[in-house]
Symmetry: C2
Subunit: 235 residues, 2 copies
DNA sequence: CCAGTATGTTTCGTATACGATTTCGTACCT
DNA sequence: AGGTACGAAATCGTATACGAAACATACTGG
C-alpha cells in the first residue's frame, strides 16, 4: 500500500528478473530518496553511487535523468544532481497540483471502490484517529497516504494515476508532511476522511466527490500557509 | 506561441550556447517528433540518430530517456525506442487528463489574463472561424493550440503549466487532432471559445471557468468517441 | 592585510569498445 | 510444402577512458 510505483508501465517489473542495471539504479535511488536515506539537498555523486551499487556510471546517469524528469532530483549542468528538497514555494505548487489531480483521480475511482475498500480505508482512518493521542507525524503521514491510496488507486486513467503518484513521491521527501507543523490539522483531516468515505459509499456524484477530495487537500495546504505566513520566498 | 517548451527551467536555453549535447539531442529529437518528421511508430535507432546529429550514442540515449519519461517515445528493453503513436485508448487517457489539468490551468490563469490577451485570443478565434470555410485540419489545430495557450499560459503554478504542455505535446503527434475525424466539432469549438472568453472577460469565478474549459475539451473527446464507437482495444 | 590570479582536485560529459540480446533470413528436416 | 532450428546481422546495454568544466585552495602582488 505504501508502495508507490511511478515507473511507466513498460518498466514495471515484479518478478525476480530485476531488469536492466539502469532500471535497478533507478529503483534503488528512488527508494533511498523516498525512504529518506538520501535527504533533500543530498549530493548525488555519480561515481560514488555507481561504486556503491556495483556498476558503472552510465546506468546511474540514466537513472538520474529519469528521476530528474520526475522532479525528484535537481540537476545542474557540469555540477551534478542533488535530491530535490521542497522549499515552501515548491510545496505550495506541489500541493496545489496534487489537490487537482488527486481530486480528479478520487472522483474517477469512486465508482470502482468496493465495500472491502471502504472498510479498509475506514480501518486505516481509525488507526489515524488512534494515532492522534501519542501524536507521531511520520506514522500519521504514512497512514494518511495509505488511506488516500485506497480511494484513488482504482482510477481507470493511468496517466492521472501516475500524476498522483508523482505528487505523493515528491511530498515523501519531507517525512512528516504538514502535520508536524500544523498538528491541529490532523484532527480535522480525520473527520474529513470519514465524510469523504460517506460520500463515496452513498454514491455521490463525481463532481461532489472531486470537490470534497480537492478541498480536503487544499485545506491542508491552507493550514500550512496560514501557519508560516511570514515566509515568502518567490523563486 | 506555437512554441511549447516542456524542458524544466534549468534546461531552458535561449542564447546561442545550446547547452550539452544531451540537451541538444533532446531538443532536436523532440522537435522532429512534434513537427512530424518522425511520425508515430517511427523507429528511433540510437546509432542512426547519433550519426545524423554528429555525436555519439550516449547523449542520444539520455535524450531518449527523457522523452520516454514525457511519454513521447515508447521504450522497450533490448529492442529500442519508437515514437509513441497514440492509439484510441491513449488518446482518451490523454485528452481526459488534459481536460482536467488544462481546466485548472485556465481557471488559475484567468485573473491574470489582460485585455491584450483577450484581444489576441479573439483574433485567433476569428482566424479559426475563417478557417472553417476552406477547412484545413492541421492549420485549425495549430490555431486551436494558439488560442488556448493565450488562456492558460499565465497560470502561476509552473507544475500545472508543465503538465498542460506535456499533454499538448503528446497530442501534437497526431497532426490534426480530432477535427479531421469530426469536422462538425470545429464549429461548436469556435463558439465555445467565444463563450469562454466572455466568462474570463466578465471575471467569472474560478470554478465556472474551470468547468467551462474542462467541458470544452471533454466535448471534443466525446465527439471523437461517438464517432469511432466500434473500436475498442483496451490495452 | 586584502584582492586577484594561478593551480590542483573533484566531478561531470562524451567517445569508443565490446559483450549481450533480439530479430530476421535461410536451410534443413518431416 | 510447411514448420522448426540454426546462424548472421542489427541493435542495444554497459564498462572503461579521457577531456572539460567547476569548485576549493594557495600563492603572489599591491
Amino acid at each position: 500500500m505504501t508502495e508507490t510505483a511511478t515507473a511507466p508501465a513498460a518498466a514495471t517489473i515484479a518478478d525476480g528478473t530485476t531488469g536492466s542495471k539502469s532500471e535497478q539504479a533507478y529503483q534503488a535511488i528512488k527508494a533511498r530518496i523516498v525512504e529518506g536515506t538520501y535527504t533533500p539537498g543530498y549530493r548525488l555523486v555519480l561515481a560514488a553511487i555507481a561504486k556503491d551499487l556495483g556498476f558503472s556510471v552510465v546506468p546511474v546517469r540514466e537513472a538520474i535523468r529519469r528521476l530528474e524528469a520526475e522532479n525528484l532530483v535537481k540537476f545542474e549542468r557540469n555540477v551534478g544532481a542533488t535530491v530535490a528538497g521542497i522549499d515552501p514555494t515548491e510545496y505550495l505548487y506541489t500541493m496545489q497540483t496534487l489537490s487537482i489531480v488527486e481530486g480528479a483521480a478520487t472522483a474517477l475511482s469512486a465508482p470502482l471502490v468496493g465495500e472491502a475498500d471502504i472498510a479498509r480505508a475506514r480501518a486505516v482512518n481509525a488507526e489515524m484517529r488512534e494515532c492522534l493521542k501519542h501524536f507521531d507525524p511520520v506514522r500519521f503521514t504514512r497512514l494518511n497516504q495509505d488511506f488516500h491510496s485506497v480511494l484513488f488507486e482504482h482510477c481507470p486513467n493511468p496517466h492521472i494515476l501516475d500524476l498522483v503518484h508523482r505528487g505523493w513521491n515528491r511530498l515523501a521527501s519531507l517525512r512528516s508532511s504538514t502535520f508536524r507543523f500544523v498538528p491541529g490539522r490532523a484532527h480535522e483531516s480525520v473527520d474529513e476522511h470519514e465524510a469523504l468515505l460517506k460520500l463515496i459509499e452513498t454514491g455521490a456524484d463525481a463532481d461532489t466527490i472531486e470537490k470534497a477530495a480537492r478541498l480536503h487537500r487544499s485545506a491542508t495546504l491552507d493550514a500550512y500557509l496560514s501557519q508560516t505566513n511570514p515566509q515568502d520566498n518567490t523563486p
